[in-house]
């Protein structure tokens, strides 16, 4: 499966993260600022795809990194900083969604025009279907609404795996569950999405 702009595995050297974390733990705020810079886009992508709201995503990204700064002294380096900060982001976002229950309206980012060259979009447009002339904006809205029908944990797994391309075992570490549970959640989430997006996938 081709991933258009995979923001999840930009192959940032972990060793550098480790050094930056040590410096940040020693009180170097600039080092933490660099950690923010390195991981901000991925964390934003995760939260945005889970909330489907730009403003909520921006606010939550700030909360996540602030929380990370406050508890960084407790980070013992058993996992990578990337896994650790993702765990904070997932928990924070799940709590946020539970409280809000999707009361906030959709507020979506713009679609990059290069999407029209993506094989998935080309295949969708070329298929013999009365809905093949569907606009990009409409498709985007339907995708986001479909995601919102999932429970918080199922949504997190779908976003982490299908959108951000993170492997099952890594997701298991982030969500504190086994890779088998991740696969099971992914299976049921996709089943539900099949129903929500039936017009595009059948």
């Amino acid at each position: 499966m081709k991933r258009a702009t995979d923001q999840s595995n930009p192959a940032l050297p972990e060793a550098e993260d480790h050094t930056l974390v040590a410096r940040a733990q020693a009180g170097d705020v600039a080092a933490y600022d660099q950690l923010v810079q390195r991981h901000q886009a991925k964390i934003y992508g995760l939260i945005y795809n889970m909330t489907s709201n730009q403003q909520d995503a921006e606010d939550l990204v700030q909360e996540v990194f602030l929380k990370g700064f406050k508890v960084l002294k407790h980070f013992k380096g058993k996992s990578s900083f990337y896994t650790w900060i993702y765990r904070i982001a997932i928990n924070r976002t799940i709590n946020f969604i539970k409280k809000r229950r999707n009361r906030s309206a959709l507020s979506l980012n713009d679609m990059d025009s290069t999407v029209e060259n993506d094989p998935a979009y080309v295949e969708l447009s070329a298929r013999e279907s009365p809905l093949r002339d569907v606009s990009l904006a409409e498709l985007q809205e339907k995708l986001n609404n479909a995601l919102r029908t999932l429970s918080e944990k199922h949504r997190a797994v779908v976003v982490l795996h299908d959108i951000q391309g993170i492997p099952h075992d890594e997701i298991g570490k982030m969500m504190n569950c086994s890779p088998g549970t991740v696969r099971s959640r992914l299976f049921y989430a996709r089943q539900q999405l099949q129903n929500e997006l039936a017009e595009y996938v059948k």
Partner: protein, 181 residues
Amino acid sequence: MKYPRMLPLDQELIGYHDSQQWPEPLRQRIAADPAARERWECSCRVARLLTLKTYERPDTQAAARCRVAIRAAIDDVAASSGRAAWAWPLSVHLLNPAVRYGAAAALLVLLGVHVTTNSRLPAIHTSPQTLQRTVVATPPQEERIAASEERANPQMTPEIWSNLAPRVHQHDTFRLIGTDH
């Protein structure tokens, strides 16, 4: 809505991306189970559709805006908690059990010293005898004022006068001689 149960084959398949090659045993099992293959292909179509979401881009200023806000919030927290630059390494080192036990032992010793010192000092300061001695030894205020005045302007007694008299006479003698010359 009730969804079909996840079968072992589904569980095995979901570990693969649709571009990945299946191992031969798995390929044979899927060939024998068209329903499983159909479920798998449908699941892949959903996953492919979801990748379109990776084309959603935040506005160009969002990242910078977010980063500035994070930095400001961190500076606020650091300032309000009054955390000095040395406080973090200290707390990190205290996570080490050996350092923690050492610090606890040192604290206990300090407490012990403090308690021992305190148990002696009140006996000196607050015993009634000491207080009485202090009161008796202190002269009344009028006497103290008189003594200080006397030190400043001593009364002329015959003894003092006798000590001073020869010096006065000598002084006068010199002055008289000088006048004559």
